[in-house]
Amino acid sequence: MSEMESAPAAPAKIPGMDEKLLEARGQDAAPPREVLFDVDDLTVDYSGVPALKDVSLEIYKNYVTAFIGPSGCGKSTFIRCFNRMNDLIPTASVNGTILYHGIDLYGPEVDSVEVRKRIGMVFQKPNPFPKSIYDNVAFGPRVLGWKKELDERVERALRHAALWDEVKNRLKASAYSLSGGQQQRLCIARCLAVEPDVLLMDEPASALDPISTTAIEDLMHDLKREYTIVIVTHNMQQAARVADMTAFFSVEVDEEQDRRTGILVEYDDTPTIFTNPSDKRTEDYVTGRFG
């Protein structure tokens, strides 16, 4: 912050960004930094063509970390590395390490199913199962073999996701009878029911209306007390509102081989990224000069 005082020009203003909000976020007592994920030199190829390369950063426990950047820069690919969802794509290959509690997620003995039990994911478009609300939330516990006290688990998960009051009287109704925003909260409840450490959210509110979006963002504030949250968003204001740390990704274009590869440009606490970024590319992006 002291650098800002001695800078010759005024800090860049992002349209719609409330400076007071940023100051408040900066003073918001973030917990001490405890490393949960240590990403080192991560590269992802699809059929040999690199989509994302040389990413290194640390994700801190009980923080909300946002990945921002223009489309095509590999943010979604990157977040899917954390719960090994890229394994489901036959042409994808991941190199580098992601240490989680000291264990390399891509190590030889690690089972992706176990990884996903601890690291949950919410998708861009809500994808409830074609079952009842109750069965949607109960699916995770059932699959994990937690047959006892299922009703309590479902209720707790729905409360945590701020959906309980709205659905408690129609748990047997089809999940498709819910609105878009409710369905997304149902998907969050579904994740919470397996008691993960981490919630990965890939543009969780981009398919929702503004009111539902606000509801999801408020939820994130609540959830980060118990969980670590990583979100991908193309909405900078959203990142400024919810995230403690922000990582800015961009695209490196290789004219010769006609390739676009994603790279990590800058990673810092949110106020710094948005008011005093170190890299010009970051500044250009957050002030809207490109992207």
Binding site: H101, E109, E114, L144, V194, E195
Partner: protein, 312 residues
């Protein structure tokens, strides 16, 4: 932390990310499913073995040259004669009449469905064609013998009780849905922009259908023709019922002939001693039939894949 304990905030246990024995049951499931898939492989292998082995024995007694060049088929007579040409010609003659009906009419039905019919009509017509396609061949055979042949005789066509014309024409109608559905698929895959471009130039529907859509869908249409031809070659019951005759080489549709399938069916109905030369003829003729239809099916599959690739 994913624990079995319902209370959150339990002491963190050392994180283990190993598979814990689950891999074994997953492998079992995959194996069981793969075995199911192997059934189809076993079927093909079985068909090939069942046909080839006795045929090899057959061709040790009857020379291949005699088989394909001989024009007298009389395996059960004394002296036996094993020239397969009458069966081949018989099959081809019936197939000719069937295709004469099915190919043009099937294409017209497809054009109607694709280019002319209103959605409401299509919704009735398509299922109705499915119904036609679902009628068992024995029923068509009955119809050919007991209704169509007398009808032909009544209008003055001098056909015998068993004749090629009746069986062939009825078989052709049976094959119309085959040609129509595959051709219509191919035509639907033609992009609307092509049609719009032509209509925009003032072309009539007739012109757009025949000069734009049909040529664009031609590989799918040919695929349907080949498949119909193959099915006509392999069809048994209609001919067995309406055209059961002796194996003779004749091009007159008012006569009756014996096709490969009818020979197999009729011989199989009898109690031929295993291992006898008559028994082996079933397999030799069967192998010939299989090879012909297999070749045509491969061509048809290739063509379907081609038109799918172009437009999808």
């Amino acid at each position: 932390m994913a624990t079995q304990d319902i209370s959150v905030g339990a002491q963190p246990e050392p994180i283990r990310l190993r598979a814990e024995g689950r891999r074994w049951s997953e492998a079992v499931v995959k194996t069981v499913l793969a075995l199911c898939a192997l059934v189809s492989v076993a079927t093909t292998v079985g068909i090939i073995l069942a046909l080839v082995e006795p045929s090899i024995e057959f061709f040790q007694e009857v020379s291949i040259v005699d088989f394909f060049s001989g024009d007298r088929w009389a395996p059960l007579f004394e002296p036996a004669s094993f020239g397969v040409q009458p069966l081949l010609v018989g099959t081809l003659v019936v197939t000719f009449w069937a295709c004469l009906v099915a190919l043009p009419l099937g294409l017209c039905v497809a054009i109607y469905l694709s280019e002319y019919a209103r959605p409401r009509v299509r919704r009735i017509l398509k299922p109705a064609l499915e119904v036609l396609a679902g009628i068992p061949t024995v029923v068509f055979g009955f119809f050919a013998l007991t209704f169509f042949t007398p009808l032909l005789q009544d209008i003055g066509v001098d056909v015998g009780t068993f004749n090629v014309l009746s069986a062939g024409l009825v078989m052709g109608v049976m094959l119309i849905p085959t040609v129509a559905s595959i051709s219509e698929d191919a035509m639907s895959a033609v992009p609307q922009e092509l049609r719009d471009g032509a209509y925009g130039l003032g072309a009539s529907r007739l012109q757009v259908s025949t000069r734009i859509v049909v040529p664009a869908a031609v590989s799918g249409i040919i695929a349907s023709y080949v498949l119909a031809f193959s099915r006509a070659v392999g069809e048994t019951m209609i001919v067995l019922i309406a055209c059961a005759g002796i194996a003779q080489i004749t091009l007159d549709p008012r006569d009756s002939v014996q096709t490969m399938t009818v020979f197999i069916g009729a011989t199989g109905l009898g109690d031929v001693p295993t291992g006898s030369i008559e028994y082996k003829t079933i397999f030799a003729v069967g192998l010939t039939l299989f090879v012909i239809t297999f070749a045509m099916n491969m061509v048809s599959i290739r063509l379907v894949r081609k038109f799918r690739e172009i437009y999808e």
